[in-house]
């Protein structure tokens, strides 16, 4: 508190000594205030719970869409028939003559498969 001149000190001392006193509070005022606060808390928690439920269907829908998109992106595409044909030609070209004529009994199953594909085509 700042230093007061003498007459101001007397004045403020007088005010403090005879300041009006408030009447006492009602006996139940404290409980009324606390009850209102507790009710307010319950209301707030209920509101917060309702708000969080709004997110559930949105989250489920978003997850389904994300899953579908991921599946589509990661799934390998069906092979192109032209690519299959090129692969067969490559194998035939590179593996032809790998095995000798008297080794025909040991012909690679792969060669058999290539030959059978050619015969079918």
């Amino acid at each position: 508190m700042s230093q007061l001149p003498d007459d101001d000190s007397k004045f403020t001392n007088f005010l403090r000594r005879h300041q009006p006193q408030p009447p006492p509070a009602s006996a139940d005022l404290e409980e009324r205030i606390l009850a209102t606060i507790k009710q307010d808390r319950v209301t707030q928690m209920a509101r917060s719970r309702r708000r969080s439920l709004y997110w559930v269907p949105a989250t489920i829908a978003a997850s389904l869409v994300a899953g579908l998109l991921t599946y589509r992106n990661l799934m390998p595409p069906a092979p192109n028939p032209n690519d299959v044909s090129s692969l067969e030609t490559f194998i035939e070209t590179n593996w032809n003559g790998t095995f000798a004529a008297d080794d025909s009994s040991d012909i690679s199953p792969l060669l058999d498969a290539v030959n059978s594909t050619q015969e079918a085509g």
């Binding site: 508190m1 700042s2 300041q19 009006p20 009447p23 404290e30």
Partner: protein, 192 residues
């Protein structure tokens, strides 16, 4: 046998305002009860001197409910008491404004002065009545300064923080408030 030091638990009433505010923010209403008990008397006293007693309980309730709702916005760096008295001042201002707009008369209290004395001191009651009437005569901003500084004995720095005005303005209003109240008391025959 190993001696285990026993740490005494802090009594709830010894917890600082800051700690109790933290408790309230976690939803602990008991912390708020302790804050209420700690500050209720001063809040009540401020409201009584700024308004009147007819709605005092309602005004006190209003202050503490606003405080509860406003806690999430309370800046932890500030003093809780300063913030709470600011709310009390806002409630008093709103009440007075509503009373003026509703053309309700502010009641001068002569009946609700000290009731706790065994042998009523008549002069004391008379002076209390005079001061209450004198306060009612002051401009609201002067009355506020006088109540907070001279009667509630809050330092000028805190008064400035509560009212969000410069300390210079506090000093100036205090000077004028004292002069006006002194003049009123002199007119009523009290010379200091």
């Amino acid at each position: 046998m190993v001696a285990v030091p026993v740490v005494a638990n802090k009594r709830p009433e010894d917890e600082s305002d800051r700690s109790l505010v933290q408790g309230c923010l976690r939803g602990d209403t008991q912390s708020f009860r302790l804050l209420y008990r700690r500050h209720e008397r001063r809040v009540r006293s401020i409201l009584f001197k700024l308004c009147d007693a007819s709605a005092l309980d309602d005004l006190v309730q209003d202050v503490f409910l606003r405080a509860w709702k406003g806690l999430p916005k309370f800046r932890q760096s500030a003093e809780f008491s300063t913030w709470l008295y600011r709310i009390a001042w806002n409630v008093a201002s709103d009440y007075r404004q509503a009373a003026t707009q509703g053309r309700a008369r502010l009641q001068v209290l002569t009946q609700h002065t000290a009731t706790h004395q065994d042998a009523p001191d008549v002069m004391h009651l008379h002076y209390q009545d005079l001061i209450q009437r004198g306060l009612a005569h002051l401009r609201f901003d002067h009355r506020t300064i006088l109540v907070l500084h001279d009667l509630e004995e809050l330092p000028q720095k805190e008064v400035a923080a509560i009212l969000e005005i410069p300390i210079g303005t506090v000093k100036s209003r205090l000077f004028h408030a004292r002069a006006a109240l002194r003049q009123f008391l002199q007119q009523e025959g009290v010379h200091l």
